[in-house]
């Protein structure tokens, strides 16, 4: 995973709450067996509407999505994270993220910055008044900079550390393989196995 310290890029205002993962990428696009190429399905239904924000050419290079509350609800599909990253997004800003989506993002290096809704409103207004403006997300200082606005954001310390260091979870866990083996040696005998009954 790539290290993440700060990112500066075009902010995209998405004035929608409850953006579920079926909207981020509909099921019909989930059939690939790779982690790439999912950008074609990103917000596929909404992109049919000419007025949808991502259809505006000034946002073609968008890399910081600024969305309403409850972003990423619904299906656990990590394809939603891949689709956003394949498109070019590096950061999503929202006042509230669904748990699974936030977890998936952290594994892939997509930063989910929790910003108070009042600040999200200010950033939306700034971006709508300055279409195509760049905003900076500073993971070290945990702040979002949009014009004159400086908004703090929340992210848990552990995910922040992993993103800053670019660390892979599996590698970290395998350092403790002896503890896993020890735990396994004490599991009750009545726990089931999946081999044929």
């Amino acid at each position: 995973m790539e290290k993440f310290e700060t990112h500066t890029g075009v902010g995209v205002p998405l004035r929608r709450s409850n953006v579920d993962t079926d909207q981020i990428i509909p099921a019909e696009y989930l059939k690939r067996v790779t982690r790439t190429g999912f950008e074609d399905g990103l917000f596929a239904a909404w992109r049919k509407d000419e007025s949808f924000v991502l259809n505006n050419p000034v946002y073609a290079e968008g890399s910081v999505l600024v969305a309403g509350p409850d972003f990423g609800t619904g299906s656990s599909r990590e394809h939603a994270v891949w689709a956003l990253m394949n498109w070019g997004f590096r950061v999503v800003i929202s006042s509230r993220f669904a748990d699974i989506f936030r977890g998936n993002s952290g594994k892939q290096g997509l930063l989910t910055a929790i910003v108070a809704q009042d600040d999200v409103e200010l950033i939306w207004k700034y971006l709508e008044n300055n279409p195509g403006a760049q905003i900076t997300v500073d993971l070290v200082a945990r702040t979002v900079h949009a014009g004159e606005i400086v908004a703090p954001f929340e992210i848990d310390d552990y995910t922040r550390w992993r993103l800053l260091e670019g660390l892979d979870d599996i590698g970290l866990t395998l350092r403790h393989e002896d503890l896993v083996a020890d735990f396994e040696s004490h599991r009750p005998s009545h726990k089931p196995v999946t081999s044929p009954a």
Binding site: R15, R16, S17, N18, D20, D22, Q23, P26, A27, E28, L30, K31, R32, V33, T34, A45, G68, P69, D70, T73, G74, S75, S76, R77, E78, H79, V81, R96, A98, D99, I100, G103, N104, K107, Q108, D156, D157, Y158, D169, I170, L172, T173, L174, H176, E177, L179, V180, F183, E184, R187, P188, S189, H190, K191, P192, V193, T194, S195, P196, A197
Partner: protein
């Protein structure tokens, strides 16, 4: 210290705990399907890692499979299913493929095999893994990176969830089902109300539910934003499990039951939040909008977005009504549907099919309405056929299909056409969920069946029903044969 059920199961699975880091949790059962696993196996292959515990891992084909006889015709779906088969063979994972007697929707298969047991940790790359919490297991959906992590290590690094008690007090009125309970819970707390929580469903109304009905409730916990839903195991749980293929036997059974009996929240345990519902206030519930929290009793009317206090709710409601093609003030009972779908991991088990069959028996599906009945697994299908339920459905003009996820998410050919409207026993009414432009109303199997007969959103009470006695209907509702 007093603990909740969720905390007890969590604590029993901690492999490693360190200050400032997530707990490393052991996973007892890892379920796989074709959609969220290929990239995980690919990751293992690239890193040269084996599957640590193939004997705690099980795969089934469900999301893409056609529900009509014959092979998969969509080439991309076919590649995905073939990739799962190749991965399972290469890594030594047991797979129930299409056509196998044990194939079915992953969340129907685990419990029916007796693999899901109280006190276990169960994960799957599918948000409806919460279903398995009905057994007092801590069961939750994970992303593909986490699938790879569990395959490689049989563990997951996780931050403890907060706990939310949902107390449903008293007895449910006749004709009110588990689906109505959970839709009412989601409408009350909202699609984000459960975020960060494990919900424990409690109270007399929950204790009175069958195992299958409990699975329906826990299944939709994720639609309230919760990571998992749980119900403390009791005699109903033990009776369901005993004799199933993977349930313990002999001395192991006795040891297991002794352990399971202790799996309940202590009387003085403190939940981070609590919500109370009075079962007597509940009635058949349906959704009108495009998220599962946008629901109302069937007797209500389509709401007016202007009446929502919160601006974001107002906007969401206006968007939803535009998408759904509904006018404020329209009685929900006047909404005409084109398709009725009975199935899914929410309501595709035998009791659901019995309940729907009891309603359509002696009736015809309304003109212009298509009714699809898709059993949750091959075993459910065989059981239903042995009871003659397939004949009841086909005699009424419904289609009797092969098992799979089907129209719940339309990854196979079972989809809604643009603008088409469904009453669906599934779990999500998101825009386009059942097909591009499709409009979904989430309902219970009883409401689905009555809607199929009348052609508009209906409950069995709306049918002019001479064919059966109320007693027969009641036994169909509770699933007692």
């Amino acid at each position: 210290m007093a603990g909740t059920l969720a905390e007890k199961v969590w604590d029993a699975h901690v492999v490693r705990r360190a200050e400032g880091e997530p707990d490393l949790l052991y996973i007892d059962l890892h379920l796989l399907h074709e959609v969220t696993s290929p990239q995980a196996f690919d990751g293992l292959r690239l890193a040269g890692r084996p599957v640590r515990r193939p004997d705690l891992t099980l795969a089934t084909e469900d999301h893409n499979v056609p529900t009509t006889p014959g092979p998969i015709t969509d080439p991309v779906s076919k590649v995905q299913v073939e990739t799962l088969r190749r991965n399972c063979a290469e890594f030594g994972v047991r797979l129930y493929p299409m056509g196998d007697a044990d194939q079915g929707i992953v969340h129907v298969v685990g419990p029916q095999l007796g693999l899901t047991q109280p006190g276990m940790t169960v994960v799957c790359g599918d948000s409806h893994t919460s279903t398995h919490g009905a057994f007092g297991a801590l069961a939750f959906g994970i992303g593909t990176s986490e699938v790879e992590h569990v395959l490689a290590t049989q563990t997951l690094p996780l931050r403890p969830f907060r706990t939310l008690a949902v107390n449903v007090r008293g007895a449910l009125p006749e004709g009110v089902t588990a689906k109505d309970v959970v839709l009412a819970v989601i409408a009350k707390i909202g699609t984000g109300g459960g975020q960060g929580y494990v919900i424990e469903y409690r109270g007399e109304a929950i204790e009175a539910l069958s195992m299958e009905a409990r699975m329906t409730v826990c299944n939709m916990s994720i639609e309230a934003g919760a990571r998992a839903g749980m119900i403390a195991p009791d005699q109903t749980t033990f009776d369901y499990l005993q004799g199933r293929p993977h349930a313990p036997t002999g001395a192991d059974w006795d040891a297991a039951v002794a352990e399971w009996t202790a799996l309940r929240s202590d009387d003085d345990a403190v939940f981070d939040a609590e919500v109370d519902l009075d079962a007597a206030d509940l009635s058949p519930f349906v959704t009108w909008g495009t998220n599962p929290g946008q629901g109302l009793p069937l007797s209500a009317s389509v709401p007016d977005p202007e009446e929502f206090a919160d601006e974001s709710d107002r906007l969401a409601a206006a968007n939803a009504l535009a998408y759904m093609g509904l006018e404020p003030g329209t009685p929900l009972r006047d909404i005409k549907v084109d398709t009725v779908f009975v199935g899914s991991c929410t309501n595709g088990r035998i009791e659901d099919l019995r309940a729907a069959a009891a309603v359509v028996q002696g009736h015809r599906v309304a003109d212009g309405v298509r009714m699809l009945v898709v059993p949750g697994s091959a075993k459910v299908r065989l059981q239903a056929e042995s009871e003659g339920l397939d004949k009841v459905f086909t005699a009424a003009g419904a289609e009797w299909r092969l098992p799979g996820c089907s129209m719940c998410l339309g990854m196979n050919p079972d989809t809604l056409a643009p603008g088409e409207r469904s009453a669906s026993t599934s779990n999500r009414n998101f825009e386009g969920r059942q097909g591009k432009g499709g409009r979904t109303h989430l309902v219970s199997p009883l409401v689905a069946a009555a809607t199929a007969v009348r052609g508009t959103l209906s409950s069995p009470n709306d049918l002019d029903d001479q064919a059966r006695t109320p007693g027969e209907l009641a036994s169909a509702t509770t699933g007692e044969a």
